[in-house]
Amino acid sequence: MRVKSGYILREVAGNYIVVAVGEEAVDFNGLITTNETGAFLWEKLSNNISEQELIDAMLQEYEVDEKIAAEDISLFIRKLEDAELLINE
């Protein structure tokens, strides 16, 4: 899975913000705010990656329990799916 193209992640005065650009911005002019971990996952999801690979990447980057990482990532993915921001290919 990966995030749809047409969305960009930026840090603005300490906030991690996702906005749509180009054609996507016509349908979506809202914004998504996330935290540092969310930004890390978003960057990883800009290329095709599996859920297990995401968990592995997070365990390498952060000192976190595998079970908690898996739960957090599952929740994050569900949020992106609800917002229709993910594509599976």
Binding site: R10, V12, A13, G14, G22, A25, N29, T33
Partner: protein, 233 residues
């Protein structure tokens, strides 16, 4: 095409409907600049494109919105942006009150006129332009000021930006730039191309570094204006 000076920029505008014809002439310029900064012409196609998002609007209203939105998109490249707010001027400084439609931005700045009389005036009631200049951050009146044609062709340094919400009690507090970014972004017209989005974010960070931001809980009593002014002066 007529030449205008808006927010310190030379703007060539071509339009054909009533609203623009009523509101733009105040900003016409007789200067003969070497460079025109921004050129905008409305067309039936551009009017139709606005109508797709707002079907109930007349040609005249669509044109007005189209030209305004185009101007504010270009403004980003001139170190500025539009903040959806009512801007009031008092003692040489501008105070910008921002919130969602219907919260009471204009109602609040009208209270300033009541509280401070002729010393206070509205700079732009809905869509002031903000620009980063060499000597500070300024608010400018523009022809685009929402429902009412309340705007002045002047340039005033910004003393504070305030996000307001309704409350029984009048209360103001300073908030950090970090805290206010998501709320502020909702009230800023955002371009759709990546380069301009990045420039907008850069402009926003600069403004937030230099201008204090506040959160105001307010009712419709004239005391609200005094509380806001005392908190921001």
């Amino acid at each position: 095409m007529k030449l205008h000076k808006i927010a310190g920029l030379y703007v060539g505008l071509e339009y054909s409907h009533e609203l623009m014809s009523v509101r733009a002439p105040k900003y016409e310029s007789k200067d003969r600049p070497k460079i025109i900064d921004i050129v905008i012409s409305s067309s039936p196609e551009s009017i139709d494109r606005v109508r797709e998002t707002a079907p109930s609007l007349s040609d005249s209203e669509c044109e007005y919105l189209y030209v305004g939105a185009s101007f504010y998109n270009c403004l980003v490249e001139f170190n500025g942006f539009m903040l959806h707010s009512s801007a009031v001027v008092y003692k040489g400084n501008a105070y910008l009150f921002s919130a969602d439609c219907g919260t009471g931005k204009s109602t609040h700045t009208q209270l300033w006129l009541k509280a401070f009389g002729e010393d206070a005036k509205i700079l732009n009631d809905d869509k002031p332009a903000i620009r980063i200049m060499d000597d500070g951050i300024y608010a400018f009146g523009t022809p685009w000021s929402g429902k009412h044609n309340i705007n002045e062709d002047i340039k005033v340094p910004i003393k504070g930006i305030c996000f307001l919400h309704r409350s029984d009690k009048n209360e103001i507090k300073r908030v950090s730039a970090k805290e206010v970014v998501p709320e502020m972004l909702k009230q800023i017209q955002r371009p759709t191309d990546v380069a301009r989005v990045d420039k907008l974010f850069e402009n926003m960070e600069t403004v937030l570094e230099k201008v204090p931001v506040y959160r105001l809980g307010c009712n419709m009593d004239v005391e609200a204006a005094h509380v806001a002014y005392n908190g921001m002066k």
